[in-house]
Symmetry: C2
């Protein structure tokens, strides 16, 4: 079996069209997109666990509880439609209704997402025009859609994969995502849309998406803040049945697509200049491994040291000690890539740190912490904290 990675997105699998337009929510940039399945699709989705949920999250998750057949998703950026009260709910419903009308679909077959500033009502005049324009410009180029969902992202994020099982049989999965700020596990302001060209029943599809999200989007952190709007939606068109024995392959491909998109989000984290994979090994419980990895990934002192390319392992020791896990400070080993900087809780000296400094100059670095108190492992991806993070977020609404 051959696996090909392609620089395309949600329209790479046959049967999907997309578009992105500017309707004036943002100045000069695409801010409204529509994704359309030419046949009926099963949908799976995961949403933010934040208790303050945006209106489109409420509307889309309620729909998904009732119904599993969809054909379109309408998305706007620049306005989160969150903390907008009853009017926000009506506006999100209206976005579905207008999209359904333009595409000649029943309203229940349309899902809705928003991302952007919290607390302002949607400019529905602009949105209405945008939906009309987006629905009339659907095509197989999925780049405008990937651009229309961006907020502080500096580049669109999309990826597609094709597994060639034999000459007649291939499986395609395509996806796009937006991220950048407010990125934290359990879905931070990130949106991701994933499509495929095979039919998988809704319950299995949901299970597979959940697994993939746990391995990918839920393991990235830019700033430890969690959003009100996060949504991942996977569409699987009805028609091309798929043998159960290949579900494992599909799960694997789906997870890898989600991982690729998640990593693109971290790399494009607000102000990020580099990313680090934090691996915590040999913890006493899976929870401890996760807590330790997350504590390091959210430590401002670690993140600024990463920016400064300083192998300041003392900050990792400090974070571990504060992580509320079982540990023996005198057992801990730490590596920066393949350079061991800590052995049994103590530094390895200046010469080692010089080599670790070289490792930190790279765009991507692996930090491995061996707790040596158990057998469980977890990893997360994080990015550094730079001047630009502060700049972007201090001036976000100005």
């Amino acid at each position: 079996m051959q696996i090909k990675w392609i620089d395309r997105g949600v329209c790479y699998p046959e049967g999907f069209l997309a578009s992105g337009v500017n309707c004036g929510i943002k100045k000069d940039r695409l801010d409204l997109g529509v994704l359309f399945g030419t046949t009926e699709c099963y949908a799976a989705a995961t949403f933010t666990t934040n208790k303050v949920k945006a209106a489109p999250v409420k509307i889309s998750s309620e729909k998904l509880n009732k119904n599993k057949i969809y054909q379109a998703i309408v998305v706007n950026s620049g306005n989160a439609n969150c903390c907008t009260g009853n009017r926000g709910l009506l506006d999100a419903q209206e976005m579905c209704r207008l999209t359904a009308q333009e595409l000649n679909l029943p309203e229940e077959k349309v899902l809705v997402c928003s991302t952007g500033v919290i607390g302002e009502p949607l400019p529905m005049g602009n949105v209405t025009n945008g939906i009309k324009s987006a629905c009339s410009s659907l095509n197989e180029n999925d780049l405008p859609f990937a651009e229309a969902i961006m907020t502080t992202d500096t580049k669109p994020k999309r990826i597609a994969v094709e597994a060639i099982l034999d000459e007649q049989t291939t499986i395609k999965i395509g996806g796009c995502a937006k991220g950048a700020g407010m990125i934290y596990p359990n879905m931070a302001t990130m949106l991701a849309f994933i499509t495929t060209d095979v039919e998988i029943p809704p319950d299995t599809l949901q299970e597979m998406l959940k697994n993939a999200v746990e391995q990918s989007f839920n393991r990235i952190s830019v700033d430890g803040d969690q959003s009100t709007n996060d949504t991942v939606i996977l569409l699987s068109p009805k028609g091309r049945k798929f043998p159960e024995k290949q579900y494992e392959l599909f799960q694997n491909l789906l997870t890898r697509v989600c991982e690729s998109l998640a990593l693109m989000i971290v790399k494009d984290g607000e102000g990020a200049t580099k990313v680090a994979k934090i691996i915590v090994k040999n913890a006493t419980t899976p929870q401890d491994a996760e807590k330790a990895a997350r504590k390091i990934s959210n430590s401002l002192l670690f993140k600024t040291a990463l920016f400064g390319e300083d192998p300041n392992w003392g900050r990792i020791m400090g974070a571990l000690g504060a992580a509320d896990i079982t540990l023996d400070p005198n057992a801990i080993d730490i590596w920066f890539d393949d350079v061991q900087v800590v052995s049994c809780g103590m530094g390895m000296g200046k010469e080692t740190e010089e080599r670790a400094k070289l490792a930190m100059r790279k765009d991507q670095i692996v930090i491995t912490v061996d707790l040596k108190v158990g057998k469980y492992q977890y990893h997360v991806w994080t990015c550094d904290l730079s001047y630009d993070y502060v700049k972007i977020n201090a001036e976000y609404r100005s």
Copy 2:
């Protein structure tokens, strides 16, 4: 009764001498201090809860478990003596031994603290000379001591208070602290030393210090990181008995001294340009009130908005939703000083935000969140996140 606040520190109460010298751990700045009680003192102390504890924390807390009578504290800055293994423990003990020798005291009457970079052994040659020099220059000016404990602090932090009960009777409390980075509840790298001129038995003294710390140092956050070295020590000289009926007054004064020092630490937080008091009211449990206040105080998005003077209340709503507390998003009210910006979970409009923007230009602002689901309240102090925080921490060891 009259209460006077004085710009002095640990030598304001009679019976204490202090000094600060440069011994070469840091370039050109004071880096070693000694505080000396001319009579025997009871001591109370609180230490970091980080599981990775610096050697001086281990040595001083072990001593305090055995013995309650002290006369001197030796402190160095520039090196945390943490993750330094057995050598670190021996070095911390040697600091006590040398100080005791110079001051002609038994070794068990000396406590030791360190703050600074983690993972490097103390330069004991310098430290030895420093201790000799500091012990021979003890006097009633407590400013050099306050300076010798500083790391990235931009200014010394000290305060003294005097309560005049009648013409014959006064109570004095003096204190100094260092903070700046790695500041988080449960004692982040902060050190504080407090003295008084009245005798309070050790168990009561410990209880009072614990109460005061909970109301002050444990309610500040600069960056959510927790240190390996935090220590607060309170010395009460034996001799001048103090009627139990005045314990409440003493507790009150002590708490206010700790609050003053804690607020100085936040104001001088790394890169801080302003501070915010976050009050969360009417939570269903005391724990919920605390969790909510801490979540906001550690949100990078809130802290950068504070720096940008942007009344971006959506970020507060997002933090509340992620705080894992009981809440009704449609009940929440939020104030910036006396300007209400959110009513029942929704914004109050542009004109209100303009007034909130003016409030945010001040150096100190009170953010009040009314959850309206219970009756419990908590508050914390936090500072903004600026370019300089990143600069200081990216370049800390360079």
